[in-house]
């Protein structure tokens, strides 16, 4: 298996930042109130993670080990600020919607974790790819969480999409008479749903392990 394939697999599932590493809960719980919000923050996170991993893997030869953490934080904060300003200037309408989320990325320890665990030790190409794939892993989980919370709380999906793509409306899945379920949109609802997702992941992993063990026993009966 190629290095890049393995990085992709790790980011997407095996070492998924949320499901396996359970990192970055602050933005995860705060922003996953609707699908659109969640995916928006996720996409901005991908950009920052790719840039941070790129910058730090390129500069890693110049960063003394003892002061690596302050330097990493400095670089990440500077990059987030630059992305924030560039976003505001160039895509202003989108910024009005996503703008509040971008500074939040600094609080996301996923970025620092990947920089420390991966970009500080690997090549520029592999590190950038790792940033992107870890970001993708973040996006699909936060997106699922956002969609679930939005659906349970309001019975809609894609609400607020008109702020990003004008002319498209969110879909009312449940009838208008659906009374709503407020707790799903409040922080406790996020914890419940996240807990379920992590449990589901652990269950599938455990089943896969069981199957692998069973196969091993068949191949080498004496080993059992």
């Amino acid at each position: 298996m190629g290095v890049y394939t393995e990085i992709a697999k790790n980011g997407f599932w095996k070492q998924n930042v949320i499901l396996a590493q359970v990192l970055g809960l602050c933005p995860l719980l705060a922003v996953s109130t609707t699908l659109v919000n969640a995916v928006s923050l996720g996409l901005a996170t991908i950009v920052v993670m790719a840039l941070a991993n790129l910058a730090i893997s390129a500069l890693r030869a110049f960063i003394p080990y003892e002061i690596r953490i302050p330097v990493f934080i400095l670089i990440i904060a500077a990059l987030v600020t630059v992305v924030d300003m560039a976003f505001n200037a160039m895509l202003h309408d989108l910024y009005l919607v996503l703008g509040i989320f971008i500074p939040l990325i600094v609080t996301n320890c996923i970025v620092l974790a990947r920089v420390e665990a991966f970009a500080a030790k690997n090549s520029v190409g592999a590190s950038t790819w790792d940033g992107i794939m870890m970001g993708v892993g973040f996006v699909w989980v936060i997106g699922l969480l956002g969609a679930g919370r939005e659906f349970i709380a309001q019975g809609t999906i894609f609400s607020g999409i008109e702020m990003i793509i004008p002319g498209i409306q969110g879909i009312q899945v449940l009838p208008e008479s659906y009374p709503g379920f407020l707790i799903a949109i409040l922080p406790p609802g996020a914890f419940f749903l996240l807990g379920l997702l992590i449990a589901l992941r652990n269950w599938t992993e455990a089943r896969a392990n069981e199957r692998a063990k069973a196969r091993l026993r068949q191949q080498i009966p004496s080993a059992a």
Partner: protein, 246 residues
């Protein structure tokens, strides 16, 4: 697992190329010299990345200023159509120091719309300090006698799906959003005592279960209108750029 290193804690310091020479440094490389070198490197990084941010800021500043202005005009357009006035609205203003009646903590500007030189309306900002989740910012267009032409919420943190109907973009009633019931209401006609939500004995609707947001907006606009009506035409007479205290 491949040759990639994944676990942060498990990997010792020596993995980084740069740390190796430091650890294996000859005796004469005193602690002082190492610290000085490390501090210099940190300083260089700080300077370089601050310069990067400063450069981006300078490069994007003109664009940001233009969008901030456009945004301000867009907010004003929501409460006062461009056809209603013909002066340079943003250049015709009075500075307001923080006033309790308006709830502002900062100096804000009161814009004065005129048509053919005659006063048309005042555009001002107000803050409701008592929303369900903190402050609710409002922009209002009013005539000097205390008639509210229209108002919009420009910033709030009310509960999504519950109290956020005060913002017409989030209001489920698209045909007649909640906030539009304030259009063209004269404070003296409604009377200040009735400028409340129905639950408080007033004339304005609220959504059941989310009265606090509606009450905050209603009361804040009532206070702002009373403030305007009290000063009346005087606000139009002040020279542009003048500062008005409470």
């Amino acid at each position: 697992m491949s040759e990639l290193e994944q676990k942060p804690a498990a990997e010792p310091a020596v993995e980084l190329d740069i740390s190796a020479p430091l650890i294996a440094a000859p005796k004469e490389d005193s602690v002082l010299r190492v610290s000085a070198r490390t501090a210099t490197i940190l300083l260089v990084f700080t300077v370089v990345f601050t310069a990067l941010m400063a450069g981006t800021y300078t490069a994007t500043k003109p664009l940001l200023d233009a969008s901030a202005l456009a945004e301000k005009l867009r907010a004003i357009d929501e409460v006062l159509p461009r056809s209603a006035y013909d002066n340079d609205l943003l250049a015709d203003y009075v500075q307001l120091t923080p006033a309790k009646a308006l709830g502002n903590d900062d100096v804000t500007r009161l814009y004065r719309a005129r048509k053919d030189g005659k006063p048309v309306a005042l555009v001002l900002e107000a803050v409701a300090p008592d929303g369900y989740a903190g402050r609710i910012s409002l922009i209002l267009a009013a005539t000097p006698d205390g008639r509210l032409l229209a108002q919009r919420v420009t910033g709030h943190r009310e509960t999504p799906g519950l109290g956020d109907y005060i913002d017409p973009k989030k209001d489920k009633n698209k045909a007649r959003p909640w906030i539009t019931q304030f259009n063209d209401k004269l404070l003296a006609e409604v009377t200040p005592a009735k400028w409340r939500v129905k639950k408080d004995g007033g004339v304005f609707d609220q959504m059941s279960g989310a009265t606090i947001s509606a009450r905050a907006v209603t009361n804040a606009s009532g206070r702002a209108l009373a403030w305007v009506a009290e000063r009346g035409e005087k606000l139009f007479a002040l020279p542009s750029g003048e500062t008005l205290g409470e």
